[in-house]
C-alpha cells in the first residue's frame, strides 16, 4: 500500500510591496484634485466636502485646506460614517459606529463632494449615497478618490481621481496618511511567487 506522497513544501511566497505614490506625490495629487474641484465647480461655491472614515476624513480636510489656500474659498468639511448603511453588516461581527459630522450649514441644496481614499467595489459609495439621502437633499453629489483600483461591482464612477491603479483582484491597495498612520503613502501589496 502506497504511502501518501510526502507533502512538498509549497514554494515560499512573499508578499510583494510596491510604493505607488510617495509622500511628495500624495501631496501633489491632493493639490491637483483641489484644482480640479475649483475648475469643475467654478470656484467651489455652495460646496460641502464629506469624508468617509477612516482616511476620507483627513483627505477631505486637506482638500478644503488646499482650496482655501489656492482661492481663499472656505469650503465646509464634514465626516460621513456609513457603518449603519453597509450591505455586509450581518456577514461580520458587529462593527463599531463612528461619528458623523455634518457642517452647521447642512447639505440641503449644496453640492456635496464625497471623499474617500480608495475606490474599489463601489459598495462604500453606495452606502454613502444612502446615508446622504437620509441627512438631507443635496443639489448634486460628486465623488473624489485618491486611488481608483478598478473592479467595480456597482455602476459607480468617480468625478475626481488622484491616480488610477490597474490591479489584480488578489492584490490590495493600502493608503496611509500622516494624520492617521504617520506617513503619506500609497502601496500596492500583491502575492508574487519567488522563482
Amino acid at each position: 500500500m502506497a504511502c501518501p506522497p510526502a507533502a512538498h513544501p509549497s514554494p515560499p511566497r512573499q508578499p510583494s510591496v510596491k510604493v505607488i505614490l510617495t509622500s511628495a506625490e500624495v501631496q501633489r495629487v491632493v493639490d491637483r484634485i483641489a484644482h480640479q474641484i475649483l475648475e469643475k465647480t467654478q470656484g467651489a461655491a455652495d460646496t460641502v466636502l464629506l469624508g468617509v472614515p477612516t482616511r476620507g476624513a483627513p483627505l477631505a480636510r486637506r482638500l478644503a485646506e488646499r482650496i482655501n489656500a489656492f482661492e481663499g474659498t472656505a469650503v465646509p468639511v464634514g465626516v460621513l460614517d456609513i457603518t449603519l448603511y453597509r450591505d455586509d453588516l450581518r456577514r461580520n461581527a458587529t462593527r463599531a459606529v463612528g461619528p458623523t459630522q455634518v457642517p452647521p450649514g447642512g447639505i440641503d441644496g449644496m453640492r456635496v463632494i464625497l471623499v474617500d481614499d480608495v475606490l474599489f467595489s463601489g459598495r462604500t459609495v453606495r452606502a454613502a449615497l444612502d446615508a446622504l439621502s437620509d441627512l438631507g437633499r443635496p443639489s448634486s453629489v460628486q465623488l473624489a478618490v485618491l486611488v481608483d483600483r478598478g473592479h467595480r461591482q456597482l455602476p459607480i464612477r468617480a468625478d475626481y481621481v488622484g491616480k488610477n491603479i490597474p490591479t489584480a483582484l488578489a492584490e490590495s491597495v493600502k493608503v496611509t496618511l500622516a494624520e492617521t498612520d504617520g506617513v503619506d503613502e500609497v502601496r500596492l501589496y500583491g502575492e508574487a511567487a519567488l522563482s
Binding site: 449603519l84 450581518r90 461580520n92 458587529t94 462593527r95 463599531a96 461619528p99 438631507g136
Partner: protein
Amino acid sequence: MIRHLLSGADLDADTAIQILDTAAEMAAVSGREVKKLPALRGRTVVNLFYEDSTRTRISFEAAAKRLSADVINFSAKGSSVAKGESLKDTALTLQAMGADAVVVRHPASGAPHRLADWVDGSVVNAGDGTHEHPTQALLDAYTMRSRMGRLAGLSVAVVGDVLHSRVARSNVLLLSTLGAKVTLVGPPTLIPVDIAAALAPGTAVCYDLDAVLPSTDVVMMLRVQRERMGDSYFPSAREYARRYGLDGARMRRLPEHAIVMHPGPMNRGMEITPEVADSPRSTIVEQVTNGVSVRMAVLYLLLGGNNR
C-alpha cells in the same frame, strides 16, 4: 460582543463604553430629517411585557423602529398568557416566529435568564422583578456622562427604596464598573444588609441623606412604590418625604454642578418635590430621550452583526 443583556454585570468597562459611544451616534439620528437607519432591516424584535410599562416599552419600540427592525408587541393582558400559557411555551412560540431579539419585562426576578436558555435570539432584560433593569442603568450612565463629562470618580447617591429597586441594583453594578463611587441612601428597612458588598465592593451605605448631599455629584432618586407603602417599611409617607425626599432646601445643599435624576414615574411631593423635578438640575426629561438612543445602541450591538 455579548449575546444577551440580562444584568449590569454582563458589561465590562470596554463594552459599556462602546454602548455609550454608539448611543451618542444614535442620538444624532433623532436630529436628522429622516430619523431612521437601515441597520436592522429584516430583523424581528419582540417586546414581551408581563408587567405594565409605558415608557420602557415605547422606548424599546421606538429604538427598534428607528433601526428598521420589525416590532411585535406582546403584552400579557389579552394574550394566551391570560389563558395560562407558561413562559416557556410563549418563548417557544416566539422562537417559531423567528424572533431575533426578545425584550422582556417580567414580575419574577430571573425570568429573562430562563428565557435566554429557551430561545436562539438575543434576550434583553427590560426589568425583572426586584432584580435588574440594565438598559435603565445604561441610559442613566449616558445621561451622567453627557451632563458631567465623565463617569470615573463621580460620587453618585442612589436614594430611596433600594430593597425593591431593580434600577438601583443595575446602576450599582454598571456605575462601579465604570469607576463611579456609589452611595446607597435610605431607611435601614429598605436597604438590604450587606447589599453593598454583595453587588460591588466599594459601594457605601448611609442612612442620612443630609450627610451625603454636600459631597455628591449626582443624586438618583428612586420611586417609592405605592404598593409597598402599606408594608410598614417606614411609619408614614410624610415622614419618608421629610427624611428622604429631595426638596428645594436639600437641593441647594448640593454642589453647584450636581444633577438630580429620577427613572420615572415620579411621585411628586413624595420622594421629589415639583420645585426639584422641574429645576434645570433635573435630567428627568433628558433621561427619557437618552433612553431611546441607548436602546438603539444595545439592539444594534446585539443584532447588527452575525454574533451567533
